[in-house]
């Protein structure tokens, strides 16, 4: 990491504090954590450390979408089904009260035990799941409700039937639906942000990542299976494309990092939910009062600017 890159990150961190994204009483503690993160980064994150984050992001006890919904929302009502074919349990949609107003939620849901994992397909949605998400997004837009997306998926399901039902097109249309919304949108990667299946729910005004979440163009196993034709080389692959939150922040892909309890979100789910709630409320507060067309324009402009040219 060169001094220049480090400076860019420092600048981003100070900007974060400046825009009150992570505000309130926890501010100093959170900045401290970010500072620690920066220090770790400048101390050159080893391949091993990046892999540790991948493992934490996938930890079997890590809180999933519904664990946060339970702790953050009041009076949550689940919306089910894509109104065409079925109800894909890998994506949860619904509406509930958050910070005194109705908010629509979309998010991937992994399973906790074997039975639920099978039911939820390990958080890997079929096209029907994305169509259900689009339905919830359009509901939010129709009634002026803010949208919260919690992203946690190894990727969209790569199967024969998923392809027959139009996986690629469903992911494209889910992004297009988000790009059209005239309501405030916040997306948080809370575990694995795996490729197209993740970005399908993450075309938001504010995109955040939890400290130990990962966000990547391809799963480490997928990358390994393409570059090495051997999925067991995942650790090397993860080190190559740097899916950790600090790198995503540095590259301008996300707007902020949500701190986790020491040891990871699974160590204290209640505290993790409290920190997530504060960050989400802060992000929504920043978007308050913006006109629908202005929200849409700014959101599209943000994604339009992503990328690095020579």
């Amino acid at each position: 990491m060169t001094t220049e890159a480090e400076l860019r990150l420092r600048e981003r961190l100070s900007k974060l504090a400046g825009v009150r994204l992570l505000r309130g009483t926890k501010l100093s503690a959170e900045l401290e954590r970010l500072q620690e993160q920066l220090d770790r980064l400048t101390a050159e994150a080893t391949d091993e450390e990046i892999w540790q984050r991948v493992l934490l992001a996938r930890h079997a006890d890590r809180p999933y979408t519904l664990d946060y919904v339970e702790r953050m929302f009041d009076d949550f009502f689940e919306l089910r089904g894509d109104r065409a074919r079925l109800d894909d349990a890998a994506i949860v949609t619904g509406m509930g009260r958050l910070a005194g107003r109705t908010v629509v939620l979309v998010g991937q849901q992994k399973g906790r035990d074997l039975k639920e994992r099978t039911l939820r397909n390990f958080g890997m949605a079929y096209p029907e799941g994305y169509r259900k998400a689009i339905r919830a997004m359009e509901l939010a837009d129709r009634h002026g409700f803010p949208l919260l997306a919690l992203v946690d998926t190894p990727g969209a399901y790569p199967g024969v039937v998923a392809e027959q039902h139009g996986q690629g097109g469903a992911i494209a249309r889910s992004q297009a639906a988000m790009a059209r919304l005239g309501v405030p949108t916040v997306a948080v990667v809370i575990g694995e942000g795996g490729s197209g299946g993740a970005v399908a729910l993450a075309v938001a005004d504010k995109v955040l990542m939890q400290e130990n979440a990962i966000y990547s163009v391809i799963s480490p196993e997928g990358c390994a299976s393409i570059l090495w034709r051997d999925a067991s080389q995942a650790q090397k692959a993860a080190a190559a494309f740097k899916p950790d939150a600090a790198h995503c922040l540095e590259l301008g892909v996300i707007d902020g990092i949500v701190p986790e309890p020491a040891g990871g979100a699974h160590a204290d789910p209640d505290l993790a939910a409290q920190l997530l709630r504060e960050a989400v409320e802060g992000a929504f507060a920043e978007l308050d009062g913006a006109a629908p067309l202005e929200l849409r324009r700014a959101r599209r402009a943000k994604f339009r600017a992503m990328g690095v040219l020579a």
């Binding site: 990491m1 992004q175 970005v199 163009v217 299976s225 494309f241 959101r299 990328g307 040219l309």
Partner: protein
């Protein structure tokens, strides 16, 4: 960035395998489905379609443009865009070296050529991909060029014709490559808001991030016969699910049957078909 922990990835085995596959595949002008062999000028004259069995060979971006547009009308835009190396990505060789090598081999700055042209007299903008440039992978430059093509089309009030040929997002650009999906999706939304049409042509192969972004968002989707168009490639599906793949897995024919595209258009019919659509979309 140069000192950032450069991951050393040993892909030598992969490269040896690729070399073997290339050798087994025989001459590039030998038809893989009927084994007929052609001189290059013969193939070019037949739009790189096997005159015996109809197999569609790959077409490079500039040749594709020449096949589609009225002669002498194509004016290229933004040819000077080049990719940076945001991750300091290093597999067998540095990403920067691969880029330079691809440019030398293809004569292109990246995997997409954009510009304005006329097709049977109708003005349009074109965004044409070239699979020969790093597998047509989409990184920052492809995303940027596509977005600029949308803006150029919207500015001129004409339709955009995109021709996709891509393995998906460019892994060497990491998360920024993934961000080209929403970037191009947002560009299509702006194009549509400006009242302009997107005609999306899918050629072999159009997979991964391309199918999950702008290529699927055309007002009309056309595919060439036999083109593979799937979000997950056959090998990934096989490896992760152990499912038995149907013979036409992800092919254009299957996609037509399941309602994902509007038509399969043989290459000889592509120019007149696009021209018809341009006339239909004209105000």
């Amino acid at each position: 960035m140069a000192q950032m922990s450069a991951p050393r990835i040993d892909v030598s085995i992969e490269h040896k395998r690729a070399q073997l596959e290339e050798r087994d595949a025989g001459h590039p002008n030998t038809c893989p489905s009927c084994n007929s062999h052609y001189r290059d000028d013969e193939l070019e004259r037949h739009l790189r379609v096997c005159p015996y069995c109809g197999h569609h060979f790959p077409v490079r971006a500039r040749e594709r443009i020449a096949q589609l547009v009225d002669e002498g009308t194509f004016v290229e835009e933004d040819a000077d865009l080049r990719s940076a190396d945001p991750l300091g990505f290093f597999d067998l060789r540095p990403y920067t070296e691969r880029l330079a090598e691809a440019e030398l081999a293809t004569g292109l700055g990246d995997a997409m050529v954009i510009g304005g042209a006329r097709i049977e007299g109708a003005a349009c903008r074109l965004a044409v991909m070239d699979f020969a440039f790093m597998g047509g992978s989409m990184g920052s430059v492809v995303g940027e060029k596509f977005a600029r093509a949308c803006e150029s089309a919207a500015g001129a009030g004409v339709p955009l014709v995109s021709v996709a040929a891509s393995g998906g997002a460019r892994m060497q650009e990491g998360i920024l490559a993934l961000m080209q999906l929403p970037k191009t999706v947002c560009a299509v939304e702006e194009l549509h808001d400006a009242g302009c049409a997107l005609i999306s042509v899918l050629t072999h192969p159009t997979t991964g991030g391309l199918l999950a972004s702008f290529a699927s968002l055309g007002d009309v989707l056309l595919a060439e016969p036999g083109a593979l168009m799937s979000f997950a490639g056959p090998r990934v599906v096989q490896q992760t699910t152990r499912e038995k793949l149907p013979d036409d897995f992800g092919r254009a024919e299957q996609n037509l049957r399941f309602g994902h595209i509007d038509a399969i258009v043989p290459r000889q019919q592509l120019r007149p078909t696009i021209a018809r659509l341009l006339r239909l979309f004209a105000p």
